[in-house]
């Protein structure tokens, strides 16, 4: 009897180890959190949506980064989109500042010289954006940071995302996820997600992902015209691999957990909105294939998403995606968007990822 019970107990122990990965819910309540970057939310400048698990581990990563940055353009003001106005939304991993952001923006029709008018409105959802600043916190022994990574290829002069936004005088939301390198690794810098836009960005929000490996935080905002219409955009970067312990505990569900966290967080953000508006999410999801469960989950929520364009965006992997969710049941006081084109740019602009772009037009305008 003992001999038959023992293996059953061992098996149940193994299964429960896999089964007992910490569950979480997403909440816009940062009570109990300690890091200064999060506490910026207390003045209402940015809405944080955070997971209910792993708070202490996330705080150790968070303590090493600076505060989010929200900047308005000096010269580009709010304007109402008109029927048939077009907007190009681009998702691009800028490879730790190695990607040539300004040439890409100019290629897309953004005027960065200050003399020409933009040919079209552009929103860039950037991942692995780098911010360099002497104002980043001093790191004591208890905080966590990623090993210093210098982008791809190293020969490229690395562009600070704040400098890129300044050069083209764009509206900017930047939310750091982790520190890039320790105190001895050169100028202090953190790395995160950003939104650069020719259209004003309002209601910025940040979604801290459940901790699977290094800390990841999605950056979001709403593009809003005078009539109240708008699009919610979010730039997101999922982890590539969890650590072995997390893999055992979650049964390799890291990216699905992050996808579910993003969906739940967007619902939390939408609760504060009066109207349903379209949502465009773009990011480096680090998917190995287009049939990954995380992408399936996201496509179920972003049900208006275009089919995959069929081309890999990082080496042979389809890592980068743009996803679209249009409100159901009419669009009362919200903008209707029509997708005209979706695809990958052939040039990488010195990043190790191709940008993916969606060209959309406004089909309804409400004044």
């Amino acid at each position: 009897m003992i001999s038959s019970r023992l293996p059953l107990s061992a098996l149940l122990a193994c299964v429960s180890t896999v089964a007992c990965a910490a569950g979480f819910t997403m909440k816009d309540d940062i009570a109990g959190r300690e890091c200064a970057s999060l506490l910026a939310a207390r003045d209402g400048s940015i809405q944080w949506v955070v997971p209910s698990s792993d708070e202490r581990a996330l705080d150790r990563w968070c303590a090493a980064v600076g505060e989010p940055v929200i900047r308005q353009s000096r010269t580009r003001s709010a304007k109402s989109p008109r029927g048939n106005d077009s907007i190009r939304i681009v998702s691009w991993n800028v490879s730790l500042g190695g990607g040539e952001v300004v040439p890409l923006l100019e290629e897309l029709g953004v005027s960065c010289t200050g003399t020409d008018r933009d040919q079209r409105d552009v929103v860039l959802l950037a991942q692995e954006a780098v911010r360099r600043s002497d104002a980043l916190p001093w790191m004591n022994g208890n905080v966590r940071h990623q090993r210093r990574l210098d982008g791809h290829p190293v020969r490229s002069p690395q562009m600070d995302i704040l400098d890129a936004a300044d050069r083209c005088d764009l509206h900017l939301v930047y939310v750091p996820g982790s520190r890039n390198g320790g105190e001895q690794d050169g100028p202090p810098e953190d790395v995160g997600n950003a939104i650069l836009s020719t259209l004003p960005l309002s209601d910025p929000f940040a979604v801290e992902m459940p901790k699977e490996a290094s800390r990841r935080v999605a950056a979001g905002a709403t593009i809003r015209g005078h009539g109240g219409e708008g699009i919610r955009v979010v730039s997101v970067h999922f982890n590539t691999w969890p650590g072995p312990w997390k893999l055992l505990r979650t049964g390799n569900s890291s990216r699905v957990r992050q996808a579910l966290a993003l969906i739940e967080a967007l619902e939390v953000v939408a609760r504060g909105s009066e109207h349903q508006i379209p949502i465009v999410a773009g990011g480096d999801l680090n998917t190995w294939s287009v049939s990954e469960g995380a992408l399936k989950q996201l496509r179920a929520y972003f049900s208006s998403s275009p089919e995959w364009h069929g081309q890999p965006t990082r080496k042979s992997f389809p890592t980068d995606h743009l996803l679209l969710r249009l409100p159901s049941g009419g669009a009362s006081l919200s903008a209707d968007l029509a997708l005209v084109d979706y695809g990958r740019l052939d040039e990488t602009f010195n990043s190790d990822h191709h940008p993916v772009t969606a060209w959309m037009t406004w089909t309804a305008v409400y004044d």
Partner: protein
């Protein structure tokens, strides 16, 4: 992708030749204690091998944790039952396999300790996890090693030669090879424990 089922078949086909038999004479006087100990070790080994085998297939579904549990249960059950037979027929099996698992644990944990300062999100739990994986493989080293080797060869060839086979398919084949190979070793041990060493000539044999 339909290839995934093909890859499973390929991995299984490749591993049917891995009839690595016990190469030492066994004492055929098992005890309930030996049977229980071997079965515990086998259930743990099979569960972890099952988890590894399911890593890539389970990434394709919307509930990967549930999928992984099925692989863990299946691997653990197959190996656990096999372990019962092995321990029932050979009172020294638990000690011998336990030693091998301990060596595997040490190798895994040492690898984790080396990686810890190099991988920024590695912590001590990850070192322990690599030790646990090493222990599971160490409990069935010949089958797991040969299965992984066969999986890597078949997966790499398929990736290189067959259009539509992606890198994750190659990884899936390799990890399935590892899992099927390790579990095959448990099943073969159990069969040998019940019937005595088979007369088939192994095509390959590795000693650890």
């Amino acid at each position: 992708m339909t290839f995934r089922s093909k890859s499973t078949s390929l991995a299984l086909a490749a591993l049917t030749v891995l009839a690595a038999r016990p190469s030492v004479a066994q004492e055929r006087d098992g005890s309930p204690f030996a049977a229980g100990g071997t079965a515990v070790l086998a259930a743990y080994s099979g569960a972890v091998l099952g988890l590894l085998g399911g890593v890539t297939p389970c990434a394709q579904v919307t509930a990967p944790a549930t999928c992984s549990r099925v692989w863990v249960m299946s691997g653990g059950a197959v190996a656990g039952v096999s372990g019962l037979f092995v321990g029932s027929g050979d009172s020294e099996a638990a000690g011998r396999i336990g030693t091998s698992a301990a060596i595997g644990f040490g190798i895994g944990a040492a690898t984790g300790a080396v990686l810890k300062p190099l991988v920024h999100h590695f912590g001590w739990p990850d070192v322990l996890a690599l030790g646990l994986v090493g222990g599971a493989i160490g409990a069935a080293p010949r089958g797991a090693g040969l299965g992984l080797g066969a999986g890597v060869v078949v997966g790499s060839a398929a990736w290189a030669l067959i259009p539509g086979v992606a890198f994750d398919d190659a990884v899936a084949i390799s990890l399935m090879g590892l899992a099927v190979g390790g579990l095959s070793e448990w099943v073969i041990r159990a069969a040998d424990a019940r019937t005595g060493p088979s007369a088939t000539v192994p095509l390959a044999s590795l000693r650890f």
